[in-house]
């Protein structure tokens, strides 16, 4: 439904010289109808710029933005505005109009689209109910909490029945609990309305919570893209690996690394294997002692990714056999020590 082809964006440098900052380099991606597509990267990676290219708030220097087969970059202003009316957008800092009530903010996109008064009066309560703010219609944005403001943003973005929802770091200004409820709402909207969502974030946790597929950006380039599960399970690019590692957060305390007896392994399990007792069998068959020092099992969708740090102690030969057994029965084994 949405296809970005070889998008490049350059900002003029501060000095105004020819060589500006290359914010996005040759980025291409395809978003399927009905999916939640994530773009992840550290700040300054160009993900926000790439997102803004989708509705042309940012004009790419080169490349095409194909939405339902139409190249938006070729449209005259009037037609571009019509296309934009079918693309909702929510923002990190909500960007609500301070001098208007929740109702008026939610009605904005409808007014832009030239809906009749009667239609607006029917649609606004409906959309406020969807985001759970029916009782706040007369409040002003500055009287609301961050989470409520983002809900107003979502209501505004969805009011005109868009085909696509763009989310620019929608939870980065919110606390953890509120973030989770906003992400839950986005997921619910995606499933209930079948709305296609593109979401950018610097947090893998956000991607994991809502996305079906993800593109990883580093230094203006898309370095990797694929199903979220695959990216987590087998990150290819060093930058992606680092992101995933950080999400798992399996750092051992110093004292373990300094005073290890035996062999220290980091084991990655995927899918069904994450749910079979491989370690128990290794200990039992090869007569080694297995001690789990750290570990985590993440479920992405309903598929598991397990990461464990264990130490094996016993006779060298038996430990060697046990390691080989574990290696044969899991996705990846990394020997950290011994």
């Amino acid at each position: 439904m949405l296809e970005l082809k070889a998008i490049s964006v350059a900002f003029p440098s501060a000095g105004g010289a020819e060589a500006g900052i290359q914010a996005v380099r040759d980025a291409s991606l395809t978003v399927q109808r009905g999916e939640v597509f994530g773009i992840v990267g550290s700040s300054g990676a160009g993900k926000s710029t790439l997102l803004r290219c989708i509705n042309l708030l940012e004009r790419p220097r080169s490349g095409q933005v194909l939405l339902g087969g139409t190249d938006l970059t070729l449209l005259p202003p009037r037609e571009l505005r019509l296309e934009r009316q079918r693309i909702g957008m929510i923002f990190q800092h909500f960007n609500l109009m301070h001098t208007r009530t929740v109702w008026d903010n939610a009605a904005f996109a409808l007014k832009v689209a030239g809906r009749s008064r009667a239609e607006i009066r029917r649609r606004v309560p409906e959309i406020l109910a969807l985001v759970g703010l029916s009782d706040k219609a007369k409040a002003y944005p500055d009287q609301l909490s961050g989470g409520q403001k983002q809900r107003v943003g979502i209501a505004r973005a969805l009011a005109n029945h868009p085909d696509l929802l763009l989310c620019d770091e929608p939870t980065s200004a919110l606390d953890l609990e509120t973030s989770a409820s906003i992400l839950g709402l986005l997921k619910e909207i995606n499933q209930k309305l079948g709305l296609t969502i593109v979401i950018i974030s610097h947090e893998m946790a956000v991607i994991k919570a809502v996305c079906d597929r993800v593109a990883v950006m580093d230094n203006g380039r898309i370095v990797e893209q694929g199903a979220v599960y695959d990216i987590f399970a087998r990150p290819g690019h060093p930058f992606t690996r680092e992101l995933v590692e950080r999400t798992f957060n399996l750092d051992l305390p110093e004292r373990h690394l300094n005073a290890i007896n035996g062999t220290l392994l980091k084991i990655l399990f995927l899918g069904d294997k994450a749910e079979t007792p491989v370690l128990f069998e290794a200990a039992w068959r090869h007569g080694v002692a297995v001690n789990i020092l750290h570990g985590k099992i993440e479920y992405i969708g309903d598929r598991a990714i397990g990461l464990l740090v264990v130490s094996l102690t016993g006779a060298a030969a038996q430990v060697g056999e046990a390691v080989a057994f574990i290696r044969a029965n899991t996705e990846r084994v990394e020997v950290l020590h011994g």
């Binding site: 571009l80 934009r84 009316q85 693309i87 923002f91 960007n95 109009m97 001098t99 904005f108 832009v112």
Partner: protein
């Protein structure tokens, strides 16, 4: 002390002249200063009508008017006043240079208020496909309204000050009364009375302006 009851008709007349000058120049400030301020803002930003040349010209004109001391502007614009009104004396005639100064002054303040509008809100409006006119009226104007009203208050109060110089072209008004009677005729009593009148006038304008701005500024509630 001077004959204060005898001064009353003069004072009333001076008030009438001051209000005439303030009314005309404020009217022009709103009618032309607001569009000019929007024009400056819109041509300077990467919004929809960025135009460096137009922006430079607008800025230059405003700076030009603002850099001329009002007393001198009053004299410089005499030919224009003559052309427009067929006369160069009286409060109507003084309203011409006052209006010119007011437009330039207020346009600058309008531009400043518009710069205060959260760029994210403007961007959101663009993202939803709002046409330029709707962004100007529905977003920029609405969001900047408290600032526009505060700027207008500042403008009117400055005009009260400027209008005191209108005596040079026989414009009259309270300030002129103070100068003619209080200064040239050494009637300190008249000076005191007119100054008190001016203080009250300015206070009333400020309080009224603050009230309107606060009403428009929902955030402060």
């Amino acid at each position: 002390m001077a004959d204060l009851p005898g001064l009353l008709p003069d004072l009333l007349n001076a008030f009438k002249e001051t209000f005439l000058m303030l009314g005309v120049s404020t009217g022009f400030a709103v009618a032309f200063g607001v569009p000019l301020g929007f024009f400056l803002f819109i041509t300077q930003r990467r919004l929809f009508w960025e135009n460096r040349a137009a922006n430079l010209i607008g800025n230059f004109l405003i700076n030009l008017i603002r850099s001329v001391p009002f007393v001198i502007l009053l004299v410089l614009l005499l030919p224009l006043t003559q052309l427009l009104l067929k006369t160069t004396i009286g409060p109507q005639a003084a309203s011409v240079p006052l209006s010119v100064a007011a437009i330039a002054f207020y346009a600058r303040l309008v531009q400043g208020s518009l710069c205060e509008v959260d760029p994210g809100v403007i961007e959101a409006a663009q993202a939803f496909g709002a046409p330029p006119f709707m962004i100007i009226r529905g977003v920029l104007f609405r969001e900047a309204l408290p600032g526009l009203l505060r700027g207008l208050t500042v403008t009117i109060i400055s005009l009260v000050g400027y209008s005191a110089m209108a005596g040079i072209v026989g414009g009259g008004g309270i300030g002129d009364l103070a100068i003619r009677f209080g200064y040239y005729r050494y009637q300190t009593g008249v000076m005191v009375v007119t100054v008190i009148a001016l203080v009250i006038l300015v206070q009333v304008i400020q309080v009224l302006g603050d009230y309107l701005a606060r009403r428009a500024d929902i955030k402060a509630k």
